[in-house]
C-alpha cells in the first residue's frame, strides 16, 4: 500500500508539472517513462535507487488497485449528483486490502482514515462488475439479440414514418403511461 502511495505521489508531481491526466500517462509510460523523460523533479541518487528497486512492485500494485474518488477534486459535479461511486463502492472495494488495513488502522482525530489505509478499488472487481452488462465475447452469441433489437427499433422507425405529424406530436407530448 505504501508503494502505491509513493507511486501516486510521483504521478501527482508529474501531473503538476505537465498538467496532464496521470492515469493515461502512467498507462502509456509507466514510472520509468517519467524518469526517462526527465519529468521527475527529484534527481537524488537515493531516489533513483529507490525507483530501481521498487519500480516493478509499484507498477504491479498500480495494475491491481485503483484509487477511489474521495476528494472534491476527484469527485466531478456529475458524480456528486449521480452518486454512482457510492452505490457501486461495496462491489469495487479490494476486500484483502481493506481487511488488512482495518486490522492495523487507527482513525485520526477527525474520524477519517490515515492516508495510507485508505480503501482501494480492486481492478479485478472493476472488471467483474463491468461484465454484468457486457456483451457475450463470442460474436455468434450476440447475433440473435442483435437481430431482435434491430428488428424492434426498425419497426418503430418504419411505423413512425407512416404516422400523421399530429399523432407524432401527440405521442411526444402526451405519451401513454
Amino acid at each position: 500500500m505504501h508503494l502505491l502511495r509513493l507511486c501516486w505521489l510521483v504521478v501527482v508531481i508529474a501531473k503538476a508539472l505537465e498538467g496532464r491526466q496521470p492515469s493515461r500517462m502512467l498507462s502509456q509510460q509507466g514510472i520509468k517513462g517519467y524518469k526517462d523523460a526527465n519529468l521527475l523533479p527529484i534527481t537524488s541518487p537515493l531516489f533513483d535507487l529507490y525507483l530501481r528497486k521498487f519500480e516493478d512492485k509499484m507498477e504491479a500494485a498500480l495494475k491491481q488497485q485503483v484509487l477511489p474518488p474521495r476528494s472534491e477534486n476527484e469527485i466531478s459535479p456529475l458524480l456528486r449528483v449521480m452518486l454512482w461511486h457510492e452505490h457501486l463502492e461495496p462491489f469495487l472495494m479490494d476486500s484483502q486490502a481493506s481487511s488488512s488495513s482495518s486490522s492495523s488502522s487507527s482513525e485520526s482525530d477527525d474520524g477519517s482514515l490515515p492516508d495510507d489505509d485508505r480503501p482501494m478499488y480492486s481492478r479485478g472487481k472493476v472488471d467483474s462488475l463491468r461484465s454484468v452488462i457486457a456483451l457475450p465475447r463470442r460474436l455468434h452469441e450476440r447475433i440473435p439479440l442483435r437481430l431482435v433489437t434491430f428488428a424492434y427499433l426498425s419497426k418503430v422507425k418504419r411505423e413512425f414514418k407512416l404516422c400523421d405529424p399530429q399523432i407524432k406530436r401527440m405521442l411526444t407530448e402526451y405519451p401513454p403511461t
Binding site: S23, S27, V66, P68, P69, S76, P77, L78, L79, M82, W84, H85, H87, L88, F91, L92, Y121, R123, V126, D127, S128, L129, R130, S131, V132, I133, A134, L135, P136, R137, R138, L139, H140, R142, I143, P144, L145, R146, L147, V148, T149, F150, A151, Y152, L153, S154, K155, V156, K157, E159, F160, K161, C163, D164, I167, L171, T172, P175, P176, T177
Partner: protein
C-alpha cells in the same frame, strides 16, 4: 430520422441492459455479487424472452446448417474475445464479419419475439414506482451507474455519458411509441381518426 447505424448504436445500449437483466436473473448470482433490482414480473418476462431467444438462435443455427452462412463466424475466430468497444469497428469493416452478414441478410424476426422483447424492456424504460423512494430501486438507474464505470475503475465524465443518456431518451420514446401502436392494434381503432 435515424439511420441504420444509429439504430445499432441505440440498440447496443438496449442489448447491454438486456444482458444485465439476464445476469441478474441467473442463479447462482453473478460473480461480482451485483444484480439489478428486478421485480418478479421483470424476472418472468426475462425468462420468457430468454427462452424465445434461445429458440430463435436454434432456428438460425439450423438455417446455417442448411447452407445459409448467416452465423458462419469462422472469419472472426481470431477475434472471439472481441470487446463491445470493437463492435462498431467490425461493422465498419468491409471484411466478412459475422454480424455484418447477419445485418445484411433477410432474416425475419418473428413478431412474437419482438413483442416479447418489448414486454421485457418496457418496464425499464417507463416511469417506475418505488416504495422506498430510493433511486437504486430503479434498474435503469443502476444500469446507468454500471454504464458509467470505466475500464480503469474511473467514472465517466459528463461528456462521455451524455451520448448513452441521449440514446436512452430515444429508447424511452421508442418504447412509448411501440406501446401506443400495440394498444391501437389491440383495440382495432384507427389512429388517424
Amino acid at each position: 430520422m435515424v439511420d441504420d447505424q444509429s439504430l445499432h448504436t441505440y440498440g447496443l445500449i438496449l442489448r447491454k441492459l438486456i444482458y444485465g437483466v439476464f445476469a441478474s436473473c441467473d442463479d447462482p448470482i453473478h460473480p461480482s455479487g451485483y444484480s439489478l433490482p428486478l421485480s418478479d414480473d421483470d424476472r418472468s418476462c426475462a425468462e420468457e424472452f430468454k427462452e424465445a431467444l434461445a429458440r430463435f438462435a436454434a432456428e438460425l443455427n439450423e438455417e446455417q446448417q442448411d447452407g445459409c452462412e448467416l452465423l458462419e463466424d469462422d472469419e472472426v475466430l481470431d477475434n472471439e474475445e472481441v470487446l463491445e468497444e470493437d463492435e462498431d469497428e467490425i461493422l465498419e469493416d468491409d471484411t466478412m464479419g459475422g454480424e455484418k452478414i447477419a445485418d445484411k441478410s433477410d432474416v425475419v424476426v418473428p413478431d412474437s419475439l419482438v413483442n416479447a422483447f418489448h414486454r421485457l424492456v418496457k418496464p425499464f424504460l417507463y416511469p417506475r414506482s418505488s416504495s422506498s423512494n430510493s433511486r437504486w430501486d430503479d434498474p435503469l438507474e443502476c444500469y446507468v451507474a454500471l454504464l458509467s464505470l470505466g475500464p480503469k475503475g474511473n467514472f465517466k465524465a459528463a461528456e462521455e455519458i451524455s451520448q448513452p443518456l441521449a440514446s436512452l431518451h430515444f429508447l424511452m420514446r421508442s418504447a412509448m411509441f411501440y406501446e401506443a401502436l400495440s394498444q391501437w392494434k389491440a383495440s382495432t381503432g384507427d389512429l388517424d381518426e
